[in-house]
Symmetry: C2
Amino acid sequence: MTTVKAGWEKRDMKTLTAREQRESGEHAQGRVLLNDIDVFLDFDPGFITKLEAQRRIIEAPKGKVLFMHDDLADSFYVIQSGWVKIFRETLDGDEVVLDILTHGHMFGETAIFDTGRYSVSAQTVENAVQYAYPCAPLKEEAERRQDSALSMLRHIARGQVHKDKEIEHRTIQNAAQRIGCFLLRICRIEKQGPIVLHLPYDKALIAGRLGMKAETFSRGLSRLQSDVGLKIQGASVEIRNQKELADYTCSACSNMFPCEDE
Amino acid sequence: MTTVKAGWEKRDMKTLTAREQRESGEHAQGRVLLNDIDVFLDFDPGFITKLEAQRRIIEAPKGKVLFMHDDLADSFYVIQSGWVKIFRETLDGDEVVLDILTHGHMFGETAIFDTGRYSVSAQTVENAVQYAYPCAPLKEEAERRQDSALSMLRHIARGQVHKDKEIEHRTIQNAAQRIGCFLLRICRIEKQGPIVLHLPYDKALIAGRLGMKAETFSRGLSRLQSDVGLKIQGASVEIRNQKELADYTCSACSNMFPCEDE
DNA sequence: CGATGGCTTGAGGGTATTCAAGTGACGTGG
DNA sequence: CCACGTCACTTGAATACCCTCAAGCCATCG
């Protein structure tokens, strides 16, 4: 029986300030700089250094809006800690959560190569620290060096596939299956066997991330409890048998288990 | 009162062979070559010429599978006529339709920059003519010329936004609203006012494209009939008031009317 | 003429949402 | 220490929505 320790454990520190977070547990993961991000592996080191010099550190409390749909895309972001919600909101006030990102994830960079305006909105959902970088240099670098452009191409192409999977999940999986799938993606670190994990953020937020209401999420969890022997206590979830859960959730899905990327 | 004439009118010729289609009505739209596609505007004309020389013409009857998920991505396609379904299928036989493409659309090109394998499947849904081009030269060209790489970047980034919208539509719009939205995108040629249009392909297929069953589509249509004064007769739909339909469908959506791209 | 395929319609059931009430943990303040 | 409010979450009942299954309609085609 193992316990997953990872970025989302931060939730337990949510009363700390962003600075305190950085100075306490965050060192365990190391600071995320551009060098640590896959996309930038093939970039010119000199360029990365120059871009790092233009980094702004944004320590945002829960609920801070980083940018809105249609804003001019002047910056892209890399998350150091905390969680950021990527969403779109409708005329009558509803919102659709597209993704929830954390440590090491990048966002806002796609707009550079399209309209130059963000096509989605972004908001922190836990106290979070991000690094903001200006878009212009990245765009220029992609225009200057093929390797850079190709890295971005690979990155965005991968995002496409991810979104296709997302559409599939929301279309054919029912609530309990989507939840199970979500849990399995969290414990992809472990190969098999029993595992205890902590939900990374608020249940209502997970619900939104999975395209359902909070009540439905709650009922879905208890259904998993009775159907595949999950044990839930607060934010802690015990999965006795990953295989059984995978059979339950992934039979309706085109992806082989485990559902590799998140 | 105007009638939309466009690619989907081909449906009325579905008894013709693909060759007959090309030799009859298709000239009206002109042949779609790489030059006519936005992505390739900034490509080197010499390269385009060389790539055109490697074009294979594929005349496929309805139902022909062009490639499957996980196949090695050796070709990308440009549709000359007919309709092609992009989908994923699950272990237990269900399928999720991600998009349905026609005249002038390109598909299969994203895999080049990611894993080199198709992440989706593609199948013709009406007798269709496509041009197939080898992927390798396109990839090499993107590696050689920045302009080419940047064009691809813009193209794929745009696809991202499209998929975000798709997720939004399927998440918050109900069946009738999704249908209305679909109809409005068809008549985006006209600014306002009454319009008569023909459904581009089978109703069951539209249903799949919108993430619902055929029966639900049928009921959704009749609901639009009573709610916003739509008139349906077979495959022909009369919209008396686009504004009213837009109010009905787009209030639950973050996109301004008209929902620009398809 | 019967068979077929595309579409519609009805009945029934399941799933998710809404609205409302209730629980429990936690922090605050008396 | 306890009363209180807040917040996250759960639970229940009623409803809306969509799906399934089945039957029927209608145009087309052999």
